[in-house]
Amino acid sequence: MMCTAKKCGIRFQPPAIILIYENEIKGKSRQRIMPVRNFSKYSDCSRAAEQLKNNPRHKGYLEQVSLKQLEKLFSFLRGNLWGQSLAETMEQIQRETTIDPEEDLNKLDDKELAKRKSIMDELFEKNQKKKDDPNFVYDIEVEFPQDEQLQSCGWDTESAEEF
């Protein structure tokens, strides 16, 4: 079954993931409501997202919707169940999916460090040139001259003595 996903969102009451898609044959917008069952404020959003995506009844429709997006939608629902405002939930998602550049990762335990690394891995994979890419070059050299005129990185201390 071929369909082009247009939009995907969440309805809080009663909870459902809603997909707006286009049926390629008819070229007409359609809506699919996928009820969310057995989801509480203690549920794991990434597991819920996986289950929905692999659900035999919805699978075909959700092919173009990323697991990340579904996970995020479940996070909105979860936040709502906790009584958080949308802004609060947004902020929380932001915190959990980005790296705080000021945070000292040396101070984290293995689990927390692994979380940060997986966030970093996303960008890494996005920018990664793999060996089987057609334009892959093993040895890429680019010169970045460190001239005197360059602007400082701003990370050095004021005094010239210290770096």
Binding site: P101, K107, L113, L123, Q128, D139, F144, C153, D156
Partner: protein, 226 residues
């Protein structure tokens, strides 16, 4: 080969004295991309050896420098860096150091001074390269100056383990520096020995002259120092 066996392996650091062996260590904070850099350089050829008892990962590599085969051991941290200090054996007999920070995180740059101080405590003279990693995430950082490298007159490389920019150059240069450090420190010992010999030769010459003074010209005797 014996070294590929999964048996808890003894860390034999004596081998780093051999001519064709060099040891290169990686330093830097957690998650700056040290292992990613190693993997990008070695590609398919990488077979890391986890030495959990030593909290380190070893990568073996064979390189060719000036037509000679060099066996390179890259030492990578395995979590111990979070204490911002490594065990003395990590530095032991190292011939070069690759010191990495993340251009997206200031703290990893600021911590270079701690890493550098510890490195110099154990290895005052070995070549050290400062590496600004993850430039793919923020290319603007390559247009900035970093005083740390300048202050200690260290080479600074802008690299990306993701897209590969300057990774091969970094490691090839590090190997070259390690080999030349090893040769030069040998040269230094040679010089010392040579110097000692020269002193002996001079003394002999002086004695010879004295003898020639006493004896008739034309007849030479080899001096026999007592």
């Amino acid at each position: 080969m014996a070294r590929d066996k999964a048996k808890p392996c003894e860390l034999d650091q004596e081998k780093y004295d051999a001519d064709d062996n060099v040891k290169i260590i990686c330093l830097g904070d957690s998650a700056v991309g040290k292992s990613k850099l190693m993997e990008r350089f070695l590609m398919d050829g990488f077979q890391p050896q986890q030495l959990s008892t030593y909290a380190l990962t070893l990568y073996k590599h064979t390189a060719t420098v000036d037509g000679k085969t060099v066996l390179v051991d890259f030492w990578d941290t395995a979590g111990q860096e979070r204490f911002q200090s490594m065990h003395a054996s990590y530095y032991h007999k190292a011939h070069a150091c690759i010191m990495v920070f993340d251009v997206q995180r200031k703290i990893t740059y600021r911590n270079l001074s701690t890493w550098y101080a510890e490195l110099r405590e154990f290895r005052p003279e070995i070549p050290c390269i400062v590496v600004a990693n993850k430039i793919d995430a923020d290319m603007k950082m390559t247009q900035k100056s970093f005083n740390f490298a300048r202050k200690f007159s260290l080479p600074l490389y802008f690299v990306s383990a993701a897209d590969g920019t300057n990774v091969v150059k970094l490691f090839s240069d590090a190997i070259r520096l390690a080999v030349s450090y090893k040769q030069n420190s040998r040269d230094f010992m040679d010089e010392v020995l040579q110097e000692l010999e020269n002193i002996d030769l001079k003394r002999e010459e002086e004695e010879e002259e004295e003898m020639l003074d006493k004896e008739q010209p034309g007849r030479q005797q080899s001096p026999s120092p007592s």
